[in-house]
């Protein structure tokens, strides 16, 4: 602390800090006092009614805070430094330079000299313990906010003077800068400069922290940045500036913040605007919206109401004034992380390291912990006690993708063969041998790192230890040196004690009238002919071991005998759907190459045979049953590909009726829309899982098909659901075929069981994903592919040890696509902490959101949607409040202080809250909601990230020659320029938005039409034109598609067109038609919630 303080930069900090408090106060007080609802930024709400009321408080607080702040900030700075982000900022500020220096070297040296894992934490702790921990965190929080702002800085600085500068983006930047420089901050220009640097640094935080610690001085600088966020409070003052520019204006206020608070009382708005220019940036950073605020402040708090639930609708407007550029920007965070962490490989040797964000491209080097591609945690530092955990309310969860695909330059896990004896395991807890196991007694025994049981080392596994107590062969054995590896399973790990036969794929094709009419069947059969050559195969195998079978069905089932010895396929009709069975054994499942002629003949004939069918009714459950029975009869696991068109209304088990009822939305019965209609589906799924039968369902509905019910079986068996509403060959062919190819070709593990073992002290208690559980510990997956993710939640059942940390071992037993039985092991070591600040410093918001979304999406099955949303908001508020209370520097309650790692939590959470499942718009069908609900359940972090916060890429901003993706912009209509075009993608949808005043030349070169008005709205394919722009855009689209596991169909949307509504739905920072709050409003709401909790 002291050090920090001593550092020159400190002073500035001190200033900024005060600002923060003021900020908060104003906003908070205002909000809290005036309208509870005014959740949004304290700042916002504050401004209006709150302001007035609070003002006094604010004022009072402000001063003290400001006074105190310096110290705190200093400390905070340290913390920040640790984060790294600030580091840079600091450097710039002044102290920063030193900091940077130190960090860089520090971090590097650390890695090498010190035990990579331990060292850092250790370092940190020293710092933290005495004074910092809380402070640091606080700072961090501040940092974050500021960080977000940071990008904008330059403008802000500029803006400062002229509020309008817009620098909005930049404005935010300055804020951060301001913070760092706070003192300086006042001098707008300076702040800007700083802002930038900071941004860069922050991402490095993790490594840098360690280093930073050493140089306390650096901490100082960071602090400032921390404070930055505080400034926002000032922002309020800032708000005075009516325009966006205000953002910039707030900074000046920063100093006055205290005053600002007071300001609100009376004339603040005007006051601020003029005075505060310097401050403004700061304010922006935190509150963003400041502009209008002042007046608003004075007036009612109306802002609050914006949040749907909150009170005054009128208020919203004012709060919105918060400058959007001033609030934490996902784009900025992503960009920063990319810049900071995308360049160096992520080496997993160190315990408790927070990996780069999912949006960052980075290389992973496995040095003993599982790659973040396999496991990501909400926090890499776990509270030692359950009390702490409860206090923080941060869910402890890991998002595990056991079979994740790796980029080509990362090696897939080594396969270890221990022969007859099988993998070595702890006798007590059955954990598998891993790098964390301690060998003792000269290598004759080992102590289990999970349960501490001491086991004998079998003679054939014995090896001497070196002087460090490490086995001499540690680096020769993947299971002793790597985080992820595979064991060959012995026969003991197989069903019925028999090695499995190679799995099978069964294609089950709906041939009812609808399927024929849309051309689906013909298309599918044609595609299958070639697709069958690309069945997944193992390693370098020449041909796939997978056998295939075919079934068609309408209200009866047709099985096909495609035995290679036959001249023609044989069809066997089973019409006894009430009591399904498999009519043939031999010849149903065949090797593709051997039976190629027969299969081709079959696929040629299927469309012909049913060409004039008039059967419109279909069955569903019997189809799956048939597939499962077939696999059972063949004694193998496998996957069913089901191509289905309509609600199964034919008389058969699992018959459904149309129960879609939009009137149920927002009632207590809404949950029934997500629940399956009958229990038959669950029962069936259970049987499927027992057989290792995974179902991938392709739906082609024209109307309601009850996805909620139909998806039960795919969901519980680890399968996927694809939905192509109103399928038309011309329009949807590419999407369907692309999905199909991908789905068929992807590597799958079958008949899998996953178990997560943990150190004593925590325990996996809850699981989310596409699987089935028959007991509380084993995740059973009939099939598991590289896209499927299981989210596991942990709870304490005892104390954890800070020294030994917390270990996770995820063991997946599965049958490979060649029929080999294997165990894949992922190990991950996490740190444990006794200080909450450590927890908050090592969180990952993306993972957190992944967990929360899954939690909420499961919640809608049992609770009213509103209750689910409230739970989410409450939990989030508690998390942030806990931080505010325990980690942030003491400051006015009116300040919104967010932990650096979680500064995006509000915006992302808001996206979750307004997603179709939790807040459906009028155009969203029940099927869509159910579909999305089950999709999200098995999404990984990257997918949820982009799904909830879509990427919006401007197309003409960057030079045409540049080959990289253009930098994204925030998902808000304000960000759209009508002279530009944008691509928007969320992993499922892809829009090309064309501004009304796009240059004609651009229109010509992209669409080959002469004017905007001639562009066909809803176009799904761009013409192939030979010009750089067209090539680039199409190339970009292709590359976006390649990044996602599902093909995104392109929709061209013209500005002011009908389709634009659809597009706008994805601009998630804006208020949505269905009542979803805008980002700004939500932030205010959140702030208010937090304040309530704090008071």
């Amino acid at each position: 602390m002291n050090v920090n303080q001593s550092i020159p930069p400190v002073p500035p900090f001190g200033q900024p800090q005060p600002v923060y408090p003021g900020y908060h106060q104003s906003s908070y007080s205002g909000q809290s006092g005036s309208t509870a609802p005014a959740i949004p930024y304290g700042a916002y709400n504050g401004p209006v009614p709150g302001y007035q009321q609070t003002l006094p408080q604010g004022i009072s607080r402000a001063p003290p805070s400001s006074g105190a702040p310096p110290a705190s900030t200093a400390q905070a700075a340290c913390g920040q430094v640790a984060y790294g982000q600030f580091g840079q900022g600091d450097v710039q500020n002044g102290p920063s330079s030193t900091v940077q220096m130190q960090r860089l070297p520090g971090s590097q040296p650390f890695g090498s000299p010190l035990a990579p894992v331990g060292s850092q934490p250790a370092v940190l702790q020293p710092y933290g313990p005495p004074p910092t921990s809380a402070q640091v965190t606080a700072q961090l929080a501040g940092m974050q906010i500021s960080g977000a702002v940071a990008p904008a800085p330059p403008s802000s600085g500029l803006g400062y003077g002229p509020p309008t500068s817009l620098a909005s983006a930049s404005g935010s930047f300055p804020n951060s800068g301001l913070y760092g420089s706070y003192p300086q901050g006042q001098a707008s220009p300076v702040s800007q400069a700083q802002g930038h640097p900071r941004i860069q640094t922050p991402q490095r935080s993790a490594p840098s922290q360690a280093s930073s610690f050493t140089p306390p001085a650096s901490g100082g600088p960071r602090l400032p940045s921390m404070t930055g966020p505080l400034l926002p409070g000032q922002g309020f003052g800032g708000p005075s500036v009516s325009q966006p520019n205000h953002v910039s204006s707030p900074p000046p206020q920063a100093l006055p913040p205290g005053t600002q608070i007071t300001g609100p009382l009376g004339p603040p708005p005007p006051m601020h605007s003029p005075q505060q220019p310097g401050y403004q940036p700061q304010q922006n950073g935190s509150f963003g919206s400041t502009r209008g605020p002042q007046p608003n402040y004075g007036s009612p708090y109306p802002a609050a109401p914006t949040f749907g639930s909150q009170p005054g609708p009128p208020q919203p407007l004012p709060p919105k004034r918060l400058d959007p550029d001033a609030i934490p920007s996902p784009i900025q965070v992503i960009e920063d992380d990319r810049n900071n962490r995308g360049t160096e490989p992520f080496v997993t040797g160190v315990r408790g390291q927070v990996p780069p964000l999912v949006t960052t491209n980075f290389l992973v080097k496995d040095q003993g912990n599982a790659s973040p591609r396999y496991i990501r945690c909400t926090s890499y530092n776990i509270p030692c006690t359950s009390d702490m955990a409860k206090q923080a309310q941060v869910p402890l969860a890991a998002v595990i993708k056991p079979l994740a695909r790796l980029p080509p330059d990362e090696a897939s896990p080594y396969v270890v063969d221990h022969g007859e004896s099988g993998p070595l395991r702890c006798n007590r807890c059955k954990a598998y041998m891993c790098p964390f196991m301690q060998f003792i007694e000269g290598g004759r025994r080992f102590q289990c790192c999970f349960c501490s049981c001491i086991n004998d080392v079998p003679p054939q596994y014995f090896q001497h230890l070196d002087h460090t107590g490490k086995r001499v062969d540690a680096y020769d054995r993947p299971e002793l040196s790597l985080g992820s590896y595979e064991f060959l399973a012995t026969v003991d790990y197989c069903k019925n004690n028999k090695f499995p036969s190679p799995p099978a794929f069964i294609f089950m094709i709906d041939v009812s009238y609808n399927a024929i009419r849309t051309g689906l069947v013909r298309l599918l059969c044609e595609e299958l002919k070639s697709l069958l050559d690309f069945l997944p195969r193992e390693g370098g195998a020449e041909e796939s071991a997978i056998r295939v079978g075919f079934v068609t069905y309408n209200k009866v089932l047709h099985f096909y005998n495609v035995k290679s010895s036959l001249a023609q396929p044989q069809m066997m009709v089973v019409s006894d759907v009430a009591d399904m069975f498999v009519p043939l054994l031999d010849g149903f499942l065949v090797n593709v190459n051997e039976s190629r002629a027969v299969i081709t003949s079959l696929l040629d004939q299927i469309p012909e045979m049913f060409a004039d069918t008039r059967e419109t009714e279909t069955v569903f459950v019997p189809v799956i049953q048939a597939g499962m029975e077939a696999l059972k009869a063949a004694e193998c696991a496998g996957k069913l590909f089901l191509f289905h068109t309509s609600l199964p209304i034919a008389e058969a088990p699992g018959k459904l009726k149309n129960r879609d009822d939009r009137k149920l939305i927002n009632t207590d019965k809404e949950k029934t829309l997500f629940q399956p209609q009958t229990g038959a589906y669950q029962t069936l799924a259970k049987e499927c899982v027992a057989q290792g039968c995974c179902i991938d369902l392709f739906l082609f509905p024209n109307q309601y098909v009850d996805v909620a019910t139909l998806s039960v079986v795919p969901q519980l068996t680890g399968g996927s659901v694809y939905k192509y509403a109103c399928f038309q060959v011309e329009n949807d062919q590419e999407r369907f075929l692309s999905d199909l190819r991908r789905d068929v070709q992807k590597v799958v593990g079958f008949d899998a069981v996953m178990r997560v073992r943990t150190s004593t002290g925590i325990r996996a208690v809850d699981f989310f994903g596409a699987f089935y559980m028959s007991n509380t510990t084993d995740v059973e997956l009939a099939g598991l592919d590289g896209d499927k993710t299981v989210t596991v939640e942990f709870k304490h059942d005892d104390r954890l040890n800070e020294e030994s940390g917390a270990l996770l071992q995820c063991a997946l037993l599965y049958t490979s696509c060649a029929g080999q039985r294997r165990l894949r092991i992922h190990n991950l070591a996490l740190n444990c902490c006794t200080q909450l600040a450590d927890l908050y410093r090592n969180c990952e918001t993306d993972t957190l959101i992944n967990y929360m979304a899954k939690f909420a999406y499961r919640g809608v099955l049992n609770s009213p949607v509103k209750a689910v949303r409230d739970t989410l908001i409450t939990q989030c508020a508690q998390i942030l409040a806990c931080y505010r209370k325990n980690c942030a520097s003491p400051s006015s309650a009116g300040q919104l202080i967010l932990p650096e790692c979680m500064k995006l939590l509000p915006v992302y959470l808001n996206c979750v809250l307004k997603s179709d499942v939790l807040q459906p718009g009028a155009e969203v069908t029940t099927d869509d909601r159910a579909y999305v609900r089950q999709l999200v359940t098995s999404m990984d972090v990257a997918e949820t990230n982009v799904f909830f916060y879509p990427r919006l890429l401007p197309l003409t901003k960057s030079p045409i020659e540049s080959t990289t993706e253009p930098p994204a912009v925030r998902a808000s209509e304000e960000r759209l320029s009508n002279g530009d075009m944008y691509l928007l993608e969320n992993g499922l949808n892809l829009f090309l938005w064309v501004g009304a005043s796009v240059q004609q030349g651009v229109v010509q070169s992209l669409f080959s039409v002469s004017s905007f008005s001639q562009i066909t709205s809803g176009l799904s394919v761009l013409p192939v034109l030979d010009n750089p722009l067209s090539k680039k855009v199409r190339g970009l689209i292709d590359s976006l598609r390649a990044q996602r596991s599902r093909y995104m169909k392109l929709i061209v949307v013209k500005q002011e067109d009908k389709l634009e509504m659809l597009f706008k739905h994805f601009l998630v920072e804006d208020k949505s038609l269905s009542g979803g709050a805008s980002y700004v409003d939500f932030l205010c709401h959140m702030h208010k919630e937090i304040r309530q909790l704090l008071s």
Partner: protein, 767 residues
């Protein structure tokens, strides 16, 4: 008409009828005292090459309850063009077409030689014959191969426009769709689940959405072939297709683990076959031909579980009430059989396996519908192959020797009533004035349905004389019986064959001689045997034997000539002389003795006994034995152990088996190879002679008998030894003193003992 024998023979040739009594006792009381009931063996479709059908329809008595057909016994008034029905005495006008008749211009049906006449009916739609193959695929490879070849061969024998269908079964049941090009298509059913006819038709897509009545009517004729076309197709259209399909038939692919029987869903397969025809071609001649290679082991109609360690039920089990599945299975098949019969279809069972195949349970399917039952060891035997081929033999007109959907209507003159029938028929439950309340066989009706019949199908029909003793029939009065058989000829025409016979009445008290002389002991033996076998189906074996014995004793008492209590004085007239011997062999026959026979064998034997004509039936009761030797031409010899001599070759025909037995010396000679030496060519001829004769029998017999060539001491000699009268046994071997014949190691009584005992009882006044 010199003798009764000739009379009987002529009647049989002309009308296919043999009565137990050819002069009828004129009162009920006397009739009952005759012991052997008044009954006849009727062969409705007896081949009459000399009897071309007339191309018009019969003239019926106009009395609604009578409807007898105009016949030679009717009194005709040529002037008024009236005729009097000889059954109800109704006077009827001739139809206009008969306007030109006169005493010299009589229609055929009035001529005495046309006591049997066949009418051909022109109206009504002709529907093709239908053959539905129901094939077991749980067979050994070579068995299945042989069966496939037989089936493929049979396609060439079918009339080109006949419809064929194919159902295969094993663990599942597959109904093959024959109309499709390219992909062969079949509907598959679980073998464990019984389905109602409605369900089956639904699942096969045979039910059409209900149409308004007025539309449905006219559409029907065309719709029929359309609806069914997927499963039943004209041979000429799809024989290539079906040949391929049969060729591709594979063994049931489901694995059969060690110690298990394959799962065979015979019950469901049959049920589906029945349901399919029921839904598509009710009341049209159709054959369901079931080929099975083992017992049904699952689902409805299962006869035994799939555990090999639990053997299939034996008579012993049945007596102990230890046959778990029997009752249920029997019920299932009976239900199927009665449905089939109601639809006018018939079910053949071709069961070829070394073990039992459940014929006991399934017998009703063949018995009630007039289908064939064939039992063999393997489909890869000439027994099966030739038997199967013989089904498709043609008569002198080039028509198949099969007819379908027949109804037999019996009319009697007032003094008689109908007591019942025994044969491959079911009752149509037509009550009428001439139906007796006392049932013998299937009674309580005057009409029966015979779904499948051939020229040798023979029914035993039993009558009761109801004329009261105090209402004598005028001297010279004659009783008349008319048999009217409507049937679908194999050429798909509907035909009616009418046989009208009359016999004299005689007062048993005064004219017993006449009656006695007119006794047809062969027919009587067969008719009594049928009654006995019929009873044996439902009663305990010993009870039936006791009943038979009592009947025999009573008959002997009634017609024997003896002094009371002096068995040595007992004599029977010529017309009765053979009867006790028939009874002796009947008692020993597999129809009544189940010892040493499996329940399936018993069912099989009884099935054939109940449908073969008199000659064949007699062979079954008392096998024929021929002896070949150097001493003279082949001669029939006593079916007695004394006929088994070392220097003879014996040829025994039991209907089911043809046994050639080489005496000890002959066997040694043959072993020494004398037949190959030119100087012993006569020996070669001797060896060859019985073979040729056997071949002749084999050629004509349906089903093909088991052909056994054995010799003295051979294990198969048991077939002979078990049949011959054990006149020499280990008990009395030395008493006979001579080395003639071969001793039979049995405790069974010999004919001699039997006769002695019979005489004793007959002359005793005790009973």
């Amino acid at each position: 008409m010199a003798t009764y024998l000739e009379f009987i023979q002529q009647n049989e040739e002309q009308d296919g009828v043999r009565f137990s009594w050819n002069v009828w006792p004129s009162s009920r009381l006397e009739a009952t005292r005759m012991v052997v009931p008044l009954a006849c063996l009727l062969t409705p479709l007896k081949e009459r090459p000399d009897l071309p059908p007339v191309q018009y329809e019969p003239v019926l008595c106009s009395r609604p309850t009578c409807k007898a057909v105009l016949n030679p016994l009717c009194q005709v008034d040529y002037r008024t063009k009236l005729w009097a029905c000889n059954f109800c005495f109704q006077r009827n006008q001739f139809p206009p077409a008969y306007g030109g008749i006169s005493e010299v211009n009589q229609p055929a049906e009035l001529m005495p030689q046309f006591s049997t006449i066949e009418y051909m009916i022109q109206r009504g739609a002709q529907s093709p014959l239908i053959f539905l193959y129901v094939v077991d695929t749980c067979l050994e490879e070579d068995d299945l191969q042989a069966l496939k070849e037989s089936l493929q061969m049979s396609l060439s024998l079918l009339p080109p426009d006949a419809l064929v269908g194919l159902i295969t079964f094993g663990r599942m049941v597959q109904v093959h769709e024959l109309s499709c090009e390219g992909i062969s298509k079949s509907y598959v059913f679980r073998g464990t689940k019984d389905l109602t006819a409605k369900q089956i038709q639904d699942m096969l897509g045979l039910t059409k959405p209900a149409m308004p009545m007025q539309q449905a009517r006219p559409a029907q004729p065309q719709e029929h072939p359309f609806v069914s076309s997927r499963f039943l197709q004209p041979v000429h259209k799809i024989d290539m297709n079906l040949t391929d399909l049969l060729g591709e038939l594979q063994r049931d692919p489901w694995p059969v683990t060690q110690g298990k029987r394959p799962l065979r869903s015979t019950g469901v397969a049959l049920s589906i076959a029945v349901g399919l025809l029921e839904g598509t071609f009710p009341n049209t001649g159709a054959r369901i031909m079931l080929f099975t290679g083992g017992p049904p082991t699952q689902g409805p109609g299962m006869v035994v579980g799939d555990e090999l360690k639990i053997p299939i039920r034996s008579w012993h089990d049945i007596e102990k009430d230890n046959a778990r599945f029997m009752k249920k299975a029997t019920k299932h098949y009976e239900m199927l059989a009665s449905r089939t019969a109601a639809n006018g279809h018939c079910i053949d069972i071709y069961a070829c396996a070394l073990d039992q195949t459940g014929l006991l349970e399934m017998k009703c399917c063949a018995n009630l519908t007039g289908g064939y039952m064939v039992m063999g060891d393997s489909f890869n035997t000439s027994l099966f192959k030739q038997t199967f081929q013989r089904i498709f033999t043609k008569d002198f007109n080039g028509d198949f020797r099969m007819a379908f959907g027949a109804t037999l209507d019996v009319k009697t003159s007032r003094e008689l009533k109908i007591a019942g029938a025994i044969g491959p028929c079911v009752s149509l439950n037509v009550k009428g004035p001439c139906v007796s309340e006392n049932e013998l066989g299937v009674g309580g009706t005057s009409q029966w349905k015979i779904c499948g019949l051939d020229p040798t199908s023979t029914l035993g029909i039993y009558f009761e004389v109801v004329n009261q003793h105090n209402a004598p029939i005028p001297q010279g009065g004659r009783g008349a019986i008319q048999f009217v058989t409507h049937y679908q000829h194999s050429s798909t025409q509907r035909r009616i064959r009418v046989t009208t016979i009359a016999r004299n009445w005689a007062d048993a008290q005064t004219q017993l001689r006449h009656i006695e002389a007119a006794f047809d002991q062969e027919a009587a033996a067969v008719l009594m045997a049928r009654l006995g076998v019929f009873r044996a189906e439902s009663e305990e074996g010993p009870d039936v034997l006791r009943w038979l014995d009592r009947q025999l004793i009573r008959l002997c008492q009634k017609f024997g000539q003896y002094n009371k209590e002096d068995s040595a004085s007992f004599r029977l007239s010529d017309s009765f002389s053979l009867y006790p011997q028939f009874m002796f062999h009947l008692r020993r026959s597999p129809f009544l003795q189940v010892f040493n026979n499996s329940p399936d064998e018993s069912s099989y034997y009884r099935h054939h006994f109940a449908r073969q004509d008199l000659t064949q039936s007699l062979i079954m009761i008392q096998p024929i034995l021929y002896s070949y030797s150097f001493h003279g031409p082949p001669e029939p010899v006593l079916l007695d152990s004394s006929s088994i001599l070392a220097d003879r070759i014996l040829l025994m025909d039991t209907f089911f088996q043809i046994v050639i037995y080489l005496g000890e010396t002959i066997a040694q000679w043959r072993k020494a190879g004398y037949q190959d030496m030119p100087e012993y060519e006569n020996f070669k001829h001797l060896l060859q002679a019985p073979l040729d004769d056997a071949q002749e029998i084999l050629q004509a017999r349906f089903p093909m008998p088991r052909y056994i060539n054995t010799e003295h001491g051979g294990s198969q000699a048991r077939f002979l030894l078990s049949k011959v009268n054990p006149s020499q046994t280990h008990n009395n071997l030395y008493a006979w003193g001579q080395e003639t014949g071969a001793p039979i190691l049995t405790d069974d009584v010999s004919l001699q003992v039997f006769m002695d005992h019979l005489k004793k009882l007959a002359v005793s006044s005790a009973c």
